[in-house]
Protein backbone atom coordinates (compact mmCIF):
# COMPACT_ATOMS: atom_id res chain seq x y z
CA UNK A 1 0.00 0.00 0.00
CA UNK A 2 1.08 3.55 -0.58
CA UNK A 3 0.11 6.71 1.25
CA UNK A 4 0.29 10.01 -0.59
CA UNK A 5 1.37 12.51 2.04
CA UNK A 6 0.97 16.21 1.27
CA UNK A 7 3.20 17.84 3.89
CA UNK A 8 3.33 21.53 4.75
CA UNK A 9 6.92 22.82 4.77
CA UNK A 10 8.16 26.22 5.77
CA UNK A 11 9.65 28.62 8.28
CA UNK A 12 7.99 31.24 10.47
CA UNK A 13 7.11 34.42 8.59
CA UNK A 14 7.56 32.85 5.14
CA UNK A 15 4.86 31.73 2.71
CA UNK A 16 5.46 27.97 3.00
CA UNK A 17 4.58 25.25 0.51
CA UNK A 18 3.24 21.71 0.30
CA UNK A 19 5.54 18.88 -0.66
CA UNK A 20 4.23 15.51 -1.77
CA UNK A 21 5.73 12.18 -0.79
CA UNK A 22 4.66 8.68 -1.74
CA UNK A 23 5.23 6.47 1.29
CA UNK A 24 5.01 2.66 1.16
CA UNK A 25 3.43 1.15 4.26
CA UNK A 26 2.01 -1.99 5.82
CA UNK A 27 -1.38 -2.30 7.45
CA UNK A 28 -1.36 -0.69 10.88
CA UNK A 29 1.50 1.77 10.34
CA UNK A 30 1.03 5.33 11.44
CA UNK A 31 1.47 8.88 10.15
CA UNK A 32 4.52 9.20 12.43
CA UNK A 33 5.97 6.04 10.84
CA UNK A 34 5.41 7.70 7.46
CA UNK A 35 7.11 10.94 8.50
CA UNK A 36 10.08 9.03 9.92
CA UNK A 37 10.28 7.07 6.63
CA UNK A 38 10.41 10.35 4.68
CA UNK A 39 13.29 11.62 6.85
CA UNK A 40 15.29 8.40 6.38
CA UNK A 41 14.55 7.79 2.67
CA UNK A 42 13.77 11.18 1.15
CA UNK A 43 14.59 14.31 3.11
CA UNK A 44 16.25 14.48 6.55
CA UNK A 45 15.63 18.22 6.71
CA UNK A 46 11.90 17.62 7.35
CA UNK A 47 11.25 18.85 10.90
CA UNK A 48 8.89 16.84 13.12
CA UNK A 49 8.52 16.68 16.90
CA UNK A 50 8.13 13.43 18.82
CA UNK A 51 9.74 11.64 21.71
CA UNK A 52 8.23 8.28 22.64
CA UNK A 53 7.76 7.00 19.05
CA UNK A 54 4.48 5.11 19.38
CA UNK A 55 3.52 4.61 23.00
CA UNK A 56 1.44 7.83 22.99
CA UNK A 57 3.11 8.65 26.31
CA UNK A 58 4.91 11.92 25.49
CA UNK A 59 2.03 13.67 23.68
CA UNK A 60 4.54 15.69 21.65
CA UNK A 61 3.56 14.66 18.10
CA UNK A 62 0.34 16.65 17.74
CA UNK A 63 -0.22 17.88 14.17
CA UNK A 64 -3.18 18.44 11.89
CA UNK A 65 -4.17 15.63 9.54
CA UNK A 66 -6.80 16.62 6.97
CA UNK A 67 -7.67 19.61 9.14
CA UNK A 68 -8.12 17.68 12.38
CA UNK A 69 -5.77 17.89 15.37
CA UNK A 70 -4.41 14.39 16.09
CA UNK A 71 -1.40 12.53 17.45
CA UNK A 72 0.73 11.43 14.48
CA UNK A 73 1.76 8.31 16.44
CA UNK A 74 -1.77 6.89 16.74
CA UNK A 75 -3.23 8.01 13.40
CA UNK A 76 -3.06 5.21 10.84
CA UNK A 77 -1.80 5.77 7.31
CA UNK A 78 -4.41 5.22 4.59
CA UNK A 79 -4.04 4.06 1.01
CA UNK A 80 -4.70 7.52 -0.43
CA UNK A 81 -3.93 11.19 0.11
CA UNK A 82 -3.50 12.76 3.55
CA UNK A 83 -2.71 16.44 4.17
CA UNK A 84 -0.36 17.09 7.10
CA UNK A 85 -0.03 20.56 8.58
CA UNK A 86 1.35 22.15 11.76
CA UNK A 87 -1.08 23.08 14.55
CA UNK A 88 -2.83 26.30 13.55
CA UNK A 89 -3.29 27.75 17.02
CA UNK A 90 0.39 27.47 18.01
CA UNK A 91 3.40 29.51 16.89
CA UNK A 92 5.26 27.83 14.04
CA UNK A 93 8.87 26.74 14.56
CA UNK A 94 9.41 24.87 11.27
CA UNK A 95 7.52 22.49 8.97
CA UNK A 96 5.25 20.42 11.26
CA UNK A 97 6.85 21.63 14.52
CA UNK A 98 5.07 24.21 16.66
CA UNK A 99 5.81 25.83 20.01
CA UNK A 100 3.85 23.64 22.43
CA UNK A 101 5.98 24.09 25.57
CA UNK A 102 4.37 25.97 28.47
CA UNK A 103 5.38 29.67 28.21
CA UNK A 104 7.59 29.52 31.31
CA UNK A 105 9.62 26.61 29.91
CA UNK A 106 10.88 28.39 26.80
CA UNK A 107 14.42 29.67 26.31
Amino acid sequence: MQAKLKVWRGDPGAAGRYERYEVPFEQGQTVLDGLRWIRVHRDPSLAIRFSCINANACKECMIQVDGKTVYACTTRLVDGEMTLEPLRNKALIKDLVTEIAPPDERA
Binding site: E26, G28, Q29, S51, C52, C58, C73, E99, E105, A107
Partner: protein, 515 residues
Protein backbone atom coordinates in the same frame (compact mmCIF):
# COMPACT_ATOMS: atom_id res chain seq x y z
CA UNK B 1 13.44 16.14 38.14
CA UNK B 2 13.96 14.54 41.55
CA UNK B 3 17.51 15.93 41.53
CA UNK B 4 16.16 19.41 40.77
CA UNK B 5 13.64 19.15 43.60
CA UNK B 6 16.27 17.94 46.08
CA UNK B 7 18.73 20.67 45.05
CA UNK B 8 16.11 23.41 45.30
CA UNK B 9 15.04 22.08 48.70
CA UNK B 10 18.67 22.36 49.82
CA UNK B 11 18.65 26.05 48.88
CA UNK B 12 20.18 25.98 45.39
CA UNK B 13 19.00 27.92 42.37
CA UNK B 14 18.41 25.26 39.73
CA UNK B 15 18.32 25.28 35.94
CA UNK B 16 16.50 22.19 34.62
CA UNK B 17 17.34 21.65 30.96
CA UNK B 18 15.74 19.16 28.56
CA UNK B 19 16.41 18.67 24.86
CA UNK B 20 12.68 18.31 24.32
CA UNK B 21 9.73 19.16 26.57
CA UNK B 22 10.32 19.02 30.34
CA UNK B 23 9.26 15.68 31.80
CA UNK B 24 7.61 14.33 28.66
CA UNK B 25 10.41 12.38 27.02
CA UNK B 26 12.94 10.07 28.59
CA UNK B 27 12.49 6.60 29.99
CA UNK B 28 10.43 7.14 33.13
CA UNK B 29 7.33 8.27 31.26
CA UNK B 30 7.50 5.03 29.25
CA UNK B 31 7.62 2.74 32.26
CA UNK B 32 4.20 1.21 32.56
CA UNK B 33 5.09 -1.35 35.15
CA UNK B 34 6.20 -1.38 38.74
CA UNK B 35 8.61 0.10 41.24
CA UNK B 36 10.51 -2.24 43.56
CA UNK B 37 10.71 -0.93 47.08
CA UNK B 38 10.81 -2.54 50.52
CA UNK B 39 7.94 -0.63 52.11
CA UNK B 40 6.62 -3.91 53.49
CA UNK B 41 2.93 -3.07 53.22
CA UNK B 42 1.84 -6.30 51.53
CA UNK B 43 4.02 -8.51 53.70
CA UNK B 44 6.92 -7.77 56.07
CA UNK B 45 10.04 -6.63 54.21
CA UNK B 46 13.34 -4.86 54.81
CA UNK B 47 15.68 -3.08 52.41
CA UNK B 48 18.32 -5.72 53.14
CA UNK B 49 16.10 -8.37 51.49
CA UNK B 50 15.66 -6.11 48.47
CA UNK B 51 19.44 -5.63 48.40
CA UNK B 52 20.04 -9.39 48.50
CA UNK B 53 17.75 -9.88 45.48
CA UNK B 54 19.39 -6.98 43.62
CA UNK B 55 22.89 -8.38 44.20
CA UNK B 56 21.75 -11.87 43.20
CA UNK B 57 20.25 -10.58 39.93
CA UNK B 58 23.42 -8.57 39.22
CA UNK B 59 25.44 -11.79 38.78
CA UNK B 60 28.29 -10.72 41.02
CA UNK B 61 28.93 -7.36 39.39
CA UNK B 62 26.86 -4.91 41.45
CA UNK B 63 28.55 -1.95 43.07
CA UNK B 64 27.24 -2.87 46.50
CA UNK B 65 27.28 0.66 47.90
CA UNK B 66 25.16 1.98 45.02
CA UNK B 67 22.78 -0.98 45.20
CA UNK B 68 22.38 -0.33 48.92
CA UNK B 69 21.60 3.34 48.31
CA UNK B 70 18.87 2.30 45.86
CA UNK B 71 17.30 -0.22 48.26
CA UNK B 72 17.72 1.79 51.47
CA UNK B 73 16.47 5.17 50.21
CA UNK B 74 13.73 3.69 48.02
CA UNK B 75 10.96 3.54 50.65
CA UNK B 76 11.42 7.19 51.65
CA UNK B 77 11.19 8.39 48.03
CA UNK B 78 8.11 6.24 47.39
CA UNK B 79 6.37 7.65 50.49
CA UNK B 80 7.39 11.17 49.54
CA UNK B 81 5.81 10.74 46.10
CA UNK B 82 2.76 9.24 47.80
CA UNK B 83 2.43 12.45 49.82
CA UNK B 84 2.73 14.40 46.57
CA UNK B 85 -0.37 12.61 45.32
CA UNK B 86 1.04 10.08 42.86
CA UNK B 87 -1.78 7.62 43.56
CA UNK B 88 0.02 4.32 44.16
CA UNK B 89 -2.51 1.50 43.84
CA UNK B 90 -3.98 0.56 47.24
CA UNK B 91 -5.77 -2.47 48.59
CA UNK B 92 -7.52 -2.75 51.96
CA UNK B 93 -6.02 0.55 53.06
CA UNK B 94 -2.38 -0.21 52.28
CA UNK B 95 -0.12 0.10 49.25
CA UNK B 96 -0.69 -2.81 46.90
CA UNK B 97 2.53 -4.68 46.09
CA UNK B 98 2.98 -7.43 43.51
CA UNK B 99 5.54 -10.18 43.20
CA UNK B 100 7.80 -9.54 40.19
CA UNK B 101 10.36 -12.05 38.89
CA UNK B 102 13.61 -12.20 40.81
CA UNK B 103 12.12 -10.83 44.04
CA UNK B 104 11.70 -13.04 47.12
CA UNK B 105 8.33 -11.49 48.02
CA UNK B 106 5.62 -9.03 47.01
CA UNK B 107 7.62 -5.83 46.74
CA UNK B 108 6.55 -3.85 43.67
CA UNK B 109 4.20 -0.87 43.90
CA UNK B 110 2.44 0.49 40.82
CA UNK B 111 -0.15 2.93 39.52
CA UNK B 112 -3.13 1.46 37.65
CA UNK B 113 -3.63 0.81 34.80
CA UNK B 114 -0.17 0.49 33.24
CA UNK B 115 0.33 4.06 34.39
CA UNK B 116 3.29 3.92 36.78
CA UNK B 117 5.88 5.85 34.74
CA UNK B 118 3.49 8.54 33.45
CA UNK B 119 2.27 9.07 37.03
CA UNK B 120 5.85 9.43 38.33
CA UNK B 121 6.67 11.93 35.56
CA UNK B 122 3.48 13.90 36.10
CA UNK B 123 3.91 14.06 39.87
CA UNK B 124 7.52 15.24 39.64
CA UNK B 125 6.65 17.71 36.87
CA UNK B 126 3.90 19.23 39.00
CA UNK B 127 6.31 19.44 41.94
CA UNK B 128 9.04 21.08 39.88
CA UNK B 129 6.56 23.60 38.48
CA UNK B 130 5.66 24.70 41.99
CA UNK B 131 9.22 25.51 43.03
CA UNK B 132 10.25 29.04 42.02
CA UNK B 133 13.92 28.15 42.63
CA UNK B 134 13.79 25.87 39.57
CA UNK B 135 13.98 27.51 36.15
CA UNK B 136 12.89 25.06 33.45
CA UNK B 137 14.02 25.35 29.84
CA UNK B 138 13.02 22.90 27.14
CA UNK B 139 14.24 22.49 23.54
CA UNK B 140 17.76 23.11 24.82
CA UNK B 141 20.23 20.45 23.65
CA UNK B 142 23.49 20.14 25.59
CA UNK B 143 26.27 19.36 23.14
CA UNK B 144 29.22 19.25 25.55
CA UNK B 145 30.14 19.75 29.20
CA UNK B 146 31.99 23.05 29.74
CA UNK B 147 35.36 22.54 31.42
CA UNK B 148 38.01 24.75 32.92
CA UNK B 149 41.23 23.06 34.02
CA UNK B 150 39.45 19.73 34.07
CA UNK B 151 36.64 21.02 36.34
CA UNK B 152 33.04 21.09 35.13
CA UNK B 153 31.79 24.69 34.98
CA UNK B 154 28.49 24.10 33.18
CA UNK B 155 27.58 23.14 29.64
CA UNK B 156 27.50 24.23 26.03
CA UNK B 157 24.02 23.99 24.58
CA UNK B 158 22.08 24.82 21.43
CA UNK B 159 18.56 26.16 21.44
CA UNK B 160 17.02 23.64 19.07
CA UNK B 161 14.24 25.83 17.67
CA UNK B 162 16.55 28.68 16.64
CA UNK B 163 20.02 27.13 16.32
CA UNK B 164 21.40 29.68 18.79
CA UNK B 165 24.42 28.70 20.90
CA UNK B 166 23.62 28.93 24.62
CA UNK B 167 26.45 28.83 27.18
CA UNK B 168 25.35 27.63 30.63
CA UNK B 169 27.48 28.47 33.67
CA UNK B 170 26.91 26.26 36.70
CA UNK B 171 28.58 25.72 40.05
CA UNK B 172 27.61 22.05 39.88
CA UNK B 173 26.07 19.97 37.09
CA UNK B 174 24.01 16.76 37.23
CA UNK B 175 23.70 14.51 34.17
CA UNK B 176 20.34 12.71 34.28
CA UNK B 177 19.85 11.80 30.65
CA UNK B 178 18.98 8.11 30.96
CA UNK B 179 20.38 5.23 28.95
CA UNK B 180 21.32 4.15 25.45
CA UNK B 181 18.62 1.80 24.21
CA UNK B 182 18.07 3.87 21.06
CA UNK B 183 21.31 2.30 19.78
CA UNK B 184 19.21 -0.77 18.93
CA UNK B 185 16.71 -1.14 16.09
CA UNK B 186 14.34 -2.97 18.42
CA UNK B 187 13.99 -0.82 21.52
CA UNK B 188 11.46 0.46 23.98
CA UNK B 189 13.06 3.90 24.16
CA UNK B 190 12.17 7.48 23.66
CA UNK B 191 14.06 9.23 20.87
CA UNK B 192 16.36 10.91 23.41
CA UNK B 193 17.77 7.62 24.77
CA UNK B 194 20.77 7.70 22.42
CA UNK B 195 23.30 7.75 25.26
CA UNK B 196 23.80 11.54 25.33
CA UNK B 197 24.90 11.60 28.97
CA UNK B 198 27.51 8.87 28.48
CA UNK B 199 28.99 10.73 25.51
CA UNK B 200 29.01 14.05 27.41
CA UNK B 201 30.69 12.47 30.43
CA UNK B 202 33.23 10.56 28.36
CA UNK B 203 34.27 13.63 26.36
CA UNK B 204 34.54 15.60 29.62
CA UNK B 205 37.06 13.05 30.88
CA UNK B 206 34.82 10.93 33.11
CA UNK B 207 34.98 7.17 33.31
CA UNK B 208 32.23 4.82 32.12
CA UNK B 209 31.77 1.30 33.49
CA UNK B 210 29.97 -1.93 32.55
CA UNK B 211 29.12 -0.60 29.08
CA UNK B 212 28.65 -4.12 27.64
CA UNK B 213 25.60 -4.81 29.82
CA UNK B 214 22.50 -3.86 27.84
CA UNK B 215 19.32 -5.40 29.22
CA UNK B 216 16.99 -6.85 26.65
CA UNK B 217 13.43 -7.08 27.77
CA UNK B 218 12.40 -10.60 26.76
CA UNK B 219 8.79 -10.10 25.76
CA UNK B 220 8.65 -6.81 23.83
CA UNK B 221 5.64 -6.63 21.55
CA UNK B 222 6.42 -7.88 18.04
CA UNK B 223 3.15 -8.49 16.15
CA UNK B 224 0.47 -7.69 15.21
CA UNK B 225 1.17 -3.98 14.85
CA UNK B 226 0.21 -2.13 18.02
CA UNK B 227 0.08 1.64 18.38
CA UNK B 228 -0.57 3.96 21.28
CA UNK B 229 0.98 1.51 23.73
CA UNK B 230 4.38 0.83 25.15
CA UNK B 231 5.96 -2.26 23.51
CA UNK B 232 6.86 -3.69 26.93
CA UNK B 233 3.26 -3.61 28.14
CA UNK B 234 2.89 -7.41 28.36
CA UNK B 235 4.97 -7.65 31.50
CA UNK B 236 2.31 -6.46 33.98
CA UNK B 237 -0.19 -8.75 32.26
CA UNK B 238 2.13 -11.58 33.09
CA UNK B 239 2.59 -10.45 36.71
CA UNK B 240 -1.11 -10.55 37.26
CA UNK B 241 -2.24 -13.40 35.03
CA UNK B 242 0.78 -15.50 34.20
CA UNK B 243 0.47 -16.16 30.48
CA UNK B 244 2.12 -18.89 28.49
CA UNK B 245 5.24 -18.34 26.41
CA UNK B 246 5.10 -20.76 23.45
CA UNK B 247 7.26 -21.73 20.47
CA UNK B 248 6.06 -22.41 16.93
CA UNK B 249 4.68 -25.81 18.01
CA UNK B 250 2.73 -23.99 20.76
CA UNK B 251 4.86 -25.68 23.43
CA UNK B 252 6.20 -23.93 26.54
CA UNK B 253 9.99 -23.85 26.34
CA UNK B 254 10.77 -22.33 29.74
CA UNK B 255 10.08 -24.20 32.99
CA UNK B 256 7.33 -21.77 33.96
CA UNK B 257 4.05 -23.70 33.72
CA UNK B 258 2.10 -20.58 32.89
CA UNK B 259 3.54 -18.57 35.76
CA UNK B 260 5.96 -15.72 35.31
CA UNK B 261 9.15 -16.74 37.01
CA UNK B 262 12.11 -16.48 34.63
CA UNK B 263 14.69 -13.71 35.03
CA UNK B 264 15.02 -11.40 32.05
CA UNK B 265 18.40 -12.56 30.81
CA UNK B 266 17.35 -16.22 30.90
CA UNK B 267 14.04 -15.59 29.12
CA UNK B 268 15.74 -13.49 26.42
CA UNK B 269 18.29 -16.22 25.82
CA UNK B 270 15.64 -18.95 25.68
CA UNK B 271 13.47 -17.08 23.15
CA UNK B 272 16.41 -16.34 20.84
CA UNK B 273 17.60 -19.93 21.03
CA UNK B 274 14.11 -21.13 20.00
CA UNK B 275 14.21 -18.72 17.03
CA UNK B 276 17.71 -19.87 16.11
CA UNK B 277 16.53 -23.51 16.17
CA UNK B 278 13.73 -22.65 13.73
CA UNK B 279 11.03 -22.82 16.39
CA UNK B 280 10.21 -19.10 16.51
CA UNK B 281 6.90 -17.37 15.75
CA UNK B 282 6.30 -16.04 12.19
CA UNK B 283 7.96 -12.64 12.84
CA UNK B 284 10.94 -14.16 14.65
CA UNK B 285 9.92 -14.23 18.29
CA UNK B 286 7.72 -16.36 20.53
CA UNK B 287 3.97 -16.63 21.05
CA UNK B 288 2.46 -15.26 24.23
CA UNK B 289 -0.94 -16.68 25.13
CA UNK B 290 -3.59 -15.53 27.59
CA UNK B 291 -6.26 -17.76 26.06
CA UNK B 292 -6.57 -19.68 29.33
CA UNK B 293 -7.95 -16.47 30.93
CA UNK B 294 -11.61 -15.58 30.59
CA UNK B 295 -12.76 -12.17 29.34
CA UNK B 296 -13.94 -11.17 32.83
CA UNK B 297 -10.55 -12.02 34.34
CA UNK B 298 -8.71 -10.03 31.67
CA UNK B 299 -10.99 -7.04 32.11
CA UNK B 300 -10.72 -7.03 35.88
CA UNK B 301 -6.92 -7.11 35.64
CA UNK B 302 -6.58 -4.53 32.88
CA UNK B 303 -9.71 -2.45 32.62
CA UNK B 304 -9.55 0.08 29.79
CA UNK B 305 -6.38 -1.45 28.35
CA UNK B 306 -8.55 -4.24 26.93
CA UNK B 307 -10.42 -1.61 24.88
CA UNK B 308 -7.17 -0.11 23.63
CA UNK B 309 -6.13 -3.58 22.50
CA UNK B 310 -9.49 -4.05 20.78
CA UNK B 311 -8.89 -0.77 18.90
CA UNK B 312 -5.69 -2.41 17.62
CA UNK B 313 -7.71 -5.45 16.54
CA UNK B 314 -6.39 -7.69 19.33
CA UNK B 315 -8.68 -10.01 21.32
CA UNK B 316 -6.63 -11.93 23.88
CA UNK B 317 -9.39 -14.46 24.51
CA UNK B 318 -9.10 -15.69 20.91
CA UNK B 319 -5.55 -15.05 19.74
CA UNK B 320 -1.91 -15.25 20.79
CA UNK B 321 0.38 -12.32 20.19
CA UNK B 322 4.04 -12.38 19.18
CA UNK B 323 6.80 -11.11 21.44
CA UNK B 324 10.58 -10.84 21.13
CA UNK B 325 13.52 -9.39 23.09
CA UNK B 326 13.82 -5.62 22.83
CA UNK B 327 16.53 -3.26 24.16
CA UNK B 328 15.13 -1.90 27.39
CA UNK B 329 17.68 -0.64 29.89
CA UNK B 330 21.41 -0.20 30.33
CA UNK B 331 23.09 -1.45 33.49
CA UNK B 332 26.38 0.30 32.70
CA UNK B 333 27.03 4.01 32.64
CA UNK B 334 28.96 6.82 34.26
CA UNK B 335 31.10 5.77 37.22
CA UNK B 336 29.84 7.55 40.33
CA UNK B 337 30.28 7.20 44.08
CA UNK B 338 27.38 7.22 46.58
CA UNK B 339 27.46 11.03 46.52
CA UNK B 340 26.79 10.67 42.76
CA UNK B 341 30.11 12.36 41.99
CA UNK B 342 31.76 11.39 38.70
CA UNK B 343 35.52 11.42 38.24
CA UNK B 344 35.24 15.00 36.89
CA UNK B 345 35.07 17.57 39.72
CA UNK B 346 31.69 19.37 40.00
CA UNK B 347 30.06 16.90 37.59
CA UNK B 348 27.42 14.55 39.07
CA UNK B 349 25.25 11.88 37.51
CA UNK B 350 21.91 10.33 38.45
CA UNK B 351 19.50 7.60 37.42
CA UNK B 352 20.10 5.18 34.56
CA UNK B 353 23.02 7.37 33.43
CA UNK B 354 24.94 5.95 36.42
CA UNK B 355 26.48 2.49 36.06
CA UNK B 356 26.99 -0.16 38.71
CA UNK B 357 23.90 -0.46 40.92
CA UNK B 358 22.43 -3.29 38.85
CA UNK B 359 25.58 -5.16 37.87
CA UNK B 360 25.20 -7.48 34.88
CA UNK B 361 21.41 -7.74 35.03
CA UNK B 362 18.81 -5.41 36.52
CA UNK B 363 16.11 -6.71 38.79
CA UNK B 364 12.61 -5.94 37.61
CA UNK B 365 11.25 -2.74 39.18
CA UNK B 366 14.63 -1.24 40.11
CA UNK B 367 14.82 1.39 37.35
CA UNK B 368 12.46 4.00 38.77
CA UNK B 369 13.76 3.32 42.28
CA UNK B 370 17.23 4.05 40.94
CA UNK B 371 16.05 7.20 39.14
CA UNK B 372 14.43 8.74 42.21
CA UNK B 373 16.94 7.68 44.88
CA UNK B 374 20.01 8.65 42.86
CA UNK B 375 18.32 11.87 41.72
CA UNK B 376 17.53 12.85 45.28
CA UNK B 377 21.08 12.13 46.43
CA UNK B 378 22.70 13.89 43.44
CA UNK B 379 20.54 17.00 43.86
CA UNK B 380 21.34 17.31 47.56
CA UNK B 381 25.09 16.79 47.10
CA UNK B 382 25.30 19.09 44.07
CA UNK B 383 23.50 21.82 46.05
CA UNK B 384 25.92 21.42 48.98
CA UNK B 385 28.90 21.78 46.65
CA UNK B 386 27.33 24.73 44.83
CA UNK B 387 26.81 26.56 48.14
CA UNK B 388 30.58 26.82 48.57
CA UNK B 389 31.49 27.48 44.93
CA UNK B 390 31.78 30.81 43.08
CA UNK B 391 29.79 31.16 39.86
CA UNK B 392 32.13 30.40 36.94
CA UNK B 393 31.97 32.03 33.51
CA UNK B 394 31.33 30.07 30.30
CA UNK B 395 31.64 31.57 26.84
CA UNK B 396 29.51 30.63 23.84
CA UNK B 397 30.97 28.17 21.39
CA UNK B 398 29.31 26.04 18.79
CA UNK B 399 30.48 23.14 16.68
CA UNK B 400 32.88 23.97 13.89
CA UNK B 401 33.14 20.54 12.28
CA UNK B 402 32.57 19.91 8.58
CA UNK B 403 29.03 18.91 7.64
CA UNK B 404 29.37 15.31 6.39
CA UNK B 405 27.85 14.26 3.10
CA UNK B 406 25.34 11.72 4.39
CA UNK B 407 21.72 11.46 5.44
CA UNK B 408 22.16 11.33 9.22
CA UNK B 409 18.63 9.97 9.80
CA UNK B 410 19.47 7.04 7.52
CA UNK B 411 22.90 6.57 9.12
CA UNK B 412 21.24 6.30 12.55
CA UNK B 413 18.86 3.60 11.28
CA UNK B 414 21.78 1.69 9.78
CA UNK B 415 23.76 1.89 13.04
CA UNK B 416 20.71 0.63 14.96
CA UNK B 417 20.43 -2.35 12.64
CA UNK B 418 24.12 -3.17 12.94
CA UNK B 419 23.95 -2.99 16.74
CA UNK B 420 20.83 -5.12 16.91
CA UNK B 421 22.32 -7.81 14.69
CA UNK B 422 25.93 -7.83 15.89
CA UNK B 423 25.95 -6.42 19.44
CA UNK B 424 22.51 -7.46 20.65
CA UNK B 425 21.50 -10.10 23.17
CA UNK B 426 23.53 -12.90 21.53
CA UNK B 427 27.09 -11.92 20.69
CA UNK B 428 30.13 -13.43 18.97
CA UNK B 429 33.62 -12.11 18.35
CA UNK B 430 32.97 -12.05 14.59
CA UNK B 431 29.75 -10.08 14.96
CA UNK B 432 31.25 -7.61 17.40
CA UNK B 433 34.22 -7.05 15.08
CA UNK B 434 31.78 -6.38 12.23
CA UNK B 435 29.97 -3.83 14.38
CA UNK B 436 33.22 -2.14 15.38
CA UNK B 437 34.29 -1.90 11.72
CA UNK B 438 30.99 -0.22 10.88
CA UNK B 439 31.32 2.18 13.81
CA UNK B 440 34.90 3.07 12.85
CA UNK B 441 33.77 3.85 9.30
CA UNK B 442 31.35 6.45 10.71
CA UNK B 443 33.37 9.54 11.51
CA UNK B 444 31.04 12.35 12.46
CA UNK B 445 32.05 15.89 13.30
CA UNK B 446 29.50 18.29 14.65
CA UNK B 447 29.09 21.42 12.51
CA UNK B 448 27.39 24.62 13.69
CA UNK B 449 23.61 24.37 13.22
CA UNK B 450 21.90 26.41 10.54
CA UNK B 451 19.57 29.17 11.67
CA UNK B 452 16.13 27.98 12.70
CA UNK B 453 15.26 24.37 13.56
CA UNK B 454 17.97 22.37 11.79
CA UNK B 455 16.53 18.85 11.99
CA UNK B 456 19.48 17.38 10.11
CA UNK B 457 21.89 18.92 12.62
CA UNK B 458 19.97 17.33 15.50
CA UNK B 459 20.43 13.94 13.79
CA UNK B 460 24.13 14.64 13.27
CA UNK B 461 24.42 15.47 16.96
CA UNK B 462 22.67 12.21 17.86
CA UNK B 463 24.74 10.18 15.41
CA UNK B 464 27.96 11.58 16.86
CA UNK B 465 26.94 10.57 20.39
CA UNK B 466 25.40 7.22 19.42
CA UNK B 467 28.52 6.31 17.46
CA UNK B 468 30.78 6.99 20.43
CA UNK B 469 28.57 5.11 22.88
CA UNK B 470 28.17 2.19 20.44
CA UNK B 471 31.95 1.98 20.30
CA UNK B 472 32.08 1.68 24.11
CA UNK B 473 29.44 -1.09 24.14
CA UNK B 474 31.04 -3.15 21.38
CA UNK B 475 34.64 -2.83 22.59
CA UNK B 476 33.68 -3.79 26.14
CA UNK B 477 31.57 -6.68 24.83
CA UNK B 478 34.39 -7.98 22.63
CA UNK B 479 36.87 -7.87 25.50
CA UNK B 480 34.60 -9.77 27.93
CA UNK B 481 35.24 -13.35 26.83
CA UNK B 482 32.55 -14.95 28.98
CA UNK B 483 28.78 -14.88 29.38
CA UNK B 484 27.28 -13.12 32.39
CA UNK B 485 23.83 -11.67 32.90
CA UNK B 486 22.75 -9.59 29.94
CA UNK B 487 26.05 -10.13 28.15
CA UNK B 488 25.74 -13.47 26.33
CA UNK B 489 28.60 -14.63 24.12
CA UNK B 490 27.76 -17.57 21.87
CA UNK B 491 31.49 -18.27 21.57
CA UNK B 492 32.00 -18.12 25.38
CA UNK B 493 28.74 -19.51 26.77
CA UNK B 494 29.90 -19.95 30.39
CA UNK B 495 30.61 -17.51 33.18
CA UNK B 496 34.27 -17.27 34.09
CA UNK B 497 35.11 -16.48 37.72
CA UNK B 498 38.15 -14.55 36.49
CA UNK B 499 35.73 -12.12 34.85
CA UNK B 500 33.89 -11.25 38.04
CA UNK B 501 35.18 -7.71 37.65
CA UNK B 502 34.10 -4.62 35.82
CA UNK B 503 35.61 -2.88 32.83
CA UNK B 504 36.05 0.89 32.75
CA UNK B 505 36.36 3.09 29.67
CA UNK B 506 38.01 6.46 29.24
CA UNK B 507 38.54 8.57 26.16
CA UNK B 508 42.18 9.16 25.23
CA UNK B 509 42.29 11.50 22.27
CA UNK B 510 39.65 9.99 20.02
CA UNK B 511 40.18 6.45 21.26
CA UNK B 512 38.15 4.52 23.83
CA UNK B 513 40.59 2.92 26.28
CA UNK B 514 39.40 -0.10 28.25
CA UNK B 515 40.82 -1.01 31.64
Amino acid sequence: MYAAIAAARAGAKVLLVDRSLIGRGGATVMAQMTVAVAVGEEEPDHWEHHLADTLQAGRGLCDRALSQLLCEDGPECIREMDAWGIGWARRDGHLSQVHAPGHDRKRCVYVDFLNTGPAVSKTLRARVQRMPEIRRVGDLLVTDIALRDGVCVGAHAVHVSTGRAVPIAAKATVIATGGLTRLYARNSASINMGGDGYALALRAGAELIDMEFVQFFPIGHLAPRLVGMDPIMWDPFRYKLGGRLLNSSLKEFLPEEGRYTSARDLATYAILKEVEAGRGSPHGGAWLSFQHCGEAELRSAFGPVIDRLAANGIDLTRQNIEVAPIAHYHMGGIRADTDMRTSVPHLFAAGEAVGGANGANRLSGNAITEAVTFGRRAGARAAALAAKTAMPAVSATSGNGKRPDLNPAAAIVELQQVMNRDAGPLRTAAGLRRAIAHIESLQVELPAPREGLDAEWVDLHDLRNMRLVAECVTRAALARTESRGAHQRDDFPDSDAGWQRRQAIRLEGNTCKLS
